[in-house]
Amino acid sequence: MRLRVVAAAAVLLGACSSHPVGPARTFGAYEAKAVTTAESAVSSVETVRLAAEGGDDHGGFGPYLSVLVSDQEEALAGAQDTFRSIQSPNEDGDALGAELDEALGSALTHVTEVRTALRRGQLAGLRDVASPLVDDSAALKRFVEDHG
């Protein structure tokens, strides 16, 4: 039992520290990491879209939406940085990386626009501000399907 507690503590400490990012040795591994990144980006983009729809439909609760959207903006930027820090194994990987990076960059730009609008208190019309995210989301989902 004591051993178990110690083991658990070790696992816990390991897990609470930041996620390690290793270099990808093969194209397959690189592709898998790209897909995971794209999936989490879809989650962020769709969260922001839902937030925009909610804000536009119901008005109010600006502070909450601000926190929600800026958290997702951070998550998205973090995902992009992490992915950039992974070395591509070959030329196919380079192309794949560039494709994903572009999609992430576009999504990030549009999420930032939503966050800015929220900070200015522009809740009405938020749906329009968020509308480019539809294409970003579709692109990321396509990426997941093509490479998943």
Binding site: E39, V42, S43, L50, A51, E53, F61, P63, L68
Partner: protein, 409 residues
């Protein structure tokens, strides 16, 4: 109204156990990732905690002996100490996460970074433990936590096809794209969350704090049968709302703000206000529960005077443990750990320690030397025994699964 107020101990215990920060996120994430395929685990957990909390409450009412005293009496000083160390560690992690959860809940309204609010939240939790009467603690945070019922409203407003929702929950399977290990890991997290040991520490100590006696056994049952199913219902509603609103859009939940999103989108402003109040009350309630449990478990193992039913100076070692636990947890939260991760690990780890707490309860609830003629009936024993076996299996499987799935990711 008076009757309603008497079941607040059960409600607060359940709210703090079922929809505290870890469960808010775990349930929403489970709904978003596994749809309703883990709903059965919540149901299994509710039955388990109802059975064992009723025993713990009955033992406390009949013999005035709270759970951690039983742990030491039946496991002995050595195994009792192992359980104390494990429970205290889990409790501490949970307390850390809850204090952070309170801060995050406030930050969603105040637009201040939650890190700045942590010291304030730590002080608030301590102040309430120091000054607020036990019954008022139950009423304020237990009843305010019921604002989370807005998740039920959300599900109802989405107007799902109830038949298919029920079918989905009744015929669980591992969804495509998920490994059986992750499924099992999440299942254990939800089960561990439903049966976290601090619930019985708090509930049984609360029964002694409120001076329950043999005459209050009906009250004990009412608290258990109302509180825990209510907590279970809220966590199912949370899961369903994520399943209905977030999953179709490909959203996976990893922070507290996202948990409230289905309500914000479906119900609107008032709903969001309710959910934020609910999250605040539930995390605050859980912080009280775990902060007090830290003091309860240590004091009851060592035989110190404990409790809010005496003046603080008469239970000074107990209050010192509580203060140090809150202080340590606040500092740990300030160090920048991800509160959601901390709490997810703490509920999974608590699954590993469960049998050491529930086994002594089951034995004492059958011991006429403590219970007189109020020992368990046959049916209760049958269910209690089956759960004990499940607890042992779950406990053995927990750590390997944690390693295989790298924490469910």
């Amino acid at each position: 109204m008076k009757k309603v107020l008497q079941v607040t101990l059960g409600i607060l215990t359940a709210i703090g156990g079922f929809v505290d920060i870890g469960d808010l996120v775990a349930n929403a994430e489970a709904g978003a990732r596994f749809r309703m395929n883990l709903a059965w685990v919540v149901l299994v957990g509710v039955i388990g905690i109802v059975v064992y909390a009723e025993m713990a409450g009955r033992v406390a009412a009949v013999s005035q002996r709270p759970v951690f005293e039983l742990v030491r009496e039946r496991l002995g000083p050595q195994a009792g100490l192992v359980n104390l160390v494990a429970s205290f560690f889990i409790n501490f992690l949970t307390l850390t996460a809850e204090i952070a959860g309170v801060a995050i809940a406030i930050s969603l309204v105040a637009s201040v970074h939650y890190g700045l609010l942590l010291p304030l939240c730590g002080v608030l939790v301590w102040l309430v433990i120091w000054r607020m009467p036990f019954e008022w603690m139950e009423r304020v945070f237990g009843l305010a936590g019921l604002a989370l019922a807005v998740f039920v409203v959300t599900v109802w407003k989405v107007g799902p096809d109830w038949g298919s929702l029920f079918d989905a929950a009744a015929s669980p399977h591992v969804p495509a794209g998920e490994s059986p290990f992750s499924y099992a890991y999440f299942g254990i997290a939800l089960f561990g969350a439903a049966m976290t040991p601090y619930e019985v520490f708090f509930f049984s100590s609360g029964a002694v704090e409120e001076r329950w006696t043999r005459r209050d056994l009906a009250l004990n049952r009412a608290n258990v049968y109302v509180g825990f199913p209510l907590g279970g219902l809220l966590s199912l509603a949370l899961m369903a709302s994520a399943h209905l609103v977030l999953a179709p859009r490909g959203v996976s939940v990893d922070d507290l703000a996202q948990v409230a999103l289905p309500v914000a989108v479906v119900v609107g402003k008032l709903g969001l206000a309710a959910v934020l109040v609910g999250i605040f009350a539930a995390t605050f309630g859980a912080a009280l529960e775990t902060g007090l449990s830290a003091g309860y478990s240590v004091s009851q193992y060592l035989g110190w005077q404990w409790g809010k039913y005496v003046r603080p100076r008469e239970a000074s070692r107990f209050h010192l443990v509580v203060v140090l636990a809150i202080l340590g947890a606040t500092l740990f939260a300030l160090s920048g750990v991800d509160p959601v991760k901390v709490t997810e690990y703490s509920i999974v780890l608590s699954a590993a320690a469960l049998p050491l707490t529930y086994f002594p309860i089951l034995v004492i609830a059958n011991d006429p030397d403590y219970m007189g003629d109020r020992t368990n009936g046959r049916l209760l024993n049958a269910i209690g025994f089956v759960y004990l076996v499940v607890l042992v299996v779950v406990s053995a499987a927990t750590i390997p699964l944690m390693i295989i799935t790298r924490g469910g990711s």
